[in-house]
Symmetry: C2
Subunit: 285 residues, 2 copies
């Protein structure tokens, strides 16, 4: 994952060097897209490797999904959304700059995410690029990530806690869709069937969210680099509030086993992705 | 323009019917993308007609640029940006719903704009789709529209009024880039050279902005459907404050002549685009 993170950061550095000194918005875009676990970009690079795609090509898709993820965090952190002051251990964009700049930074990071997928350096065949573009739009818009965010807002004002079924559906959109897209991207770049990676990442995405809910209760804000125990404070249903701490841990473990099993067609080649699944529920932040 | 507006609205209606009842964000997306002059979408459809592209194909690009424009308006109207209560004669999204929803609506309209350009119904050749998508990303992101918005914010806090050269450069990004993309789109869809349409729309875009500045001073808020005299109140430099009312009118007229001249290669076929250029400086809203 550290190797993947380095490659992704180098691609982003090259992009921001190309964009050049365009004032505070460009500067804040580079700031907002730095750091993090790079789980999504790592999934892109690993699934590409499994399908024999050159990492020098796949890094455009990996950088793209990290820009898209960064845009969603910048907008999520706004006072009118989650109102967070801290992200990845640093001030959020609207705290370091201001709200207007944070809106524009998120907007332009989304644009950059789509622009990166148009590059011939990623795939000589334009049909492959269109496939990645269309699937990222579907995963991130009103039928994917934004739908999940909207469902999350609706849940807060619903006046009742969500059921396990509802929260599973919400998370499949809010965080699951982008994780699924990332894992499928390597197969898509190779023009191969992504079905096994879809099964892997559907289980992984849910395990990731359950682990996030556990960390929100058990974790250390300093290690996490962000505010914790928000859901409890807001009286929101989480996997922990619905299943209990032990039940949530068991569910996450089962999901990681499902994720590992889904990778059977790839044999030993997929060991890094299996380790990533185990990491997701053992991580401290 | 009315015919173009009808076709674009029908395409958007079909898209929102497909998306279905996904709660207030989807509802507000449809609301925010309704109405307006549809100048950008009209330019797409007219330039497509000049290049023999079927309007049933070009309508995807026309709807796309109108979604992109609508996203920029929803975010521009936010309290942390221009803080407007009225748009196209109706309450702005954050007034009718709330700020969080307005952020998500803008985000998802941008995504939808890119998604529309991936459709095979627009162009069977995926290379054409990637070309339109890459150029729209360039026109709207940190090297285009968002850069112009960032320059506009920077100008407000600069403590001095912009020069004519600076405001021309700012507007070429803020509103010009998207108008240029729209006029070029038809040529791009046909795989033709957009150079004449680039010259036309560069002049048109600047004339449009000068006319906007004139309307901001002379116009009627009710006809405009939005708050006027904001720039004067904010002490911002405009083409009117720099050139005077008569000077601004003369400059706009010269630009419209330039725009008309640029269309010479298309002969009488381009008469509707010439009329559109004249409309841009004679309109009342």
């Amino acid at each position: 994952m550290a190797l993947a993170a380095n490659r992704i950061q180098a691609r982003l550095d090259a992009e921001f060097a190309r964009i050049g000194d365009q004032g505070p918005v460009a500067e804040a875009m580079a700031f907002a897209s730095r750091g993090g676990k790079r789980l999504r970009g790592f999934l892109v690079l690993e699934s590409a490797r499994l399908h024999g795609v050159d990492p020098a090509q796949a890094e455009y898709a990996a950088a793209s999904v990290e820009c898209l993820h960064a845009y969603s965090l910048v907008h999520d952190d706004l006072p009118c959304m989650d109102d967070d002051d801290l992200r990845r251990g640093l001030p959020t964009v609207h705290r370091k700059w201001d709200e207007g700049i944070a809106v524009l930074v998120g907007d332009a990071l989304q644009t950059l995410a789509f622009e990166l997928l148009t590059r011939p350096e990623m795939a000589a065949d334009p049909a492959r690029r269109v496939d990645l573009l269309a699937s990222l739009a579907e995963a991130s818009g009103i039928e994917g990530m934004v739908l999940g965010q909207a469902q999350d807002i609706a849940a807060e004002t619903a006046g009742r806690a969500l059921t396990l079924e509802e929260i599973t559906a919400l998370q499949a959109n809010k965080t699951g869709a982008l994780i699924r897209w990332s894992a499928e991207a390597g197969a898509r770049l190779a023009g191969a069937d992504p079905a096994a990676l879809t099964r892997y990442s559907t289980a992984l995405g849910l395990a990731f969210q359950i682990a996030d809910d556990i960390l929100d209760v058990e974790g250390d804000a300093e290690a996490a680099g962000k505010r914790l125990r928000k859901d409890e404070a807001a009286g929101k249903a989480t996997f922990v509030s619905l299943l209990g701490l032990e039940g949530a841990r068991n569910r996450a473990r089962t999901l990681v086993e499902d994720a590992e099993t889904a990778l059977a067609p790839y044999g030993a080649q997929a060991e890094t992705l299996r380790e990533a699944a185990r990491f997701v529920i053992s991580r401290r932040h």
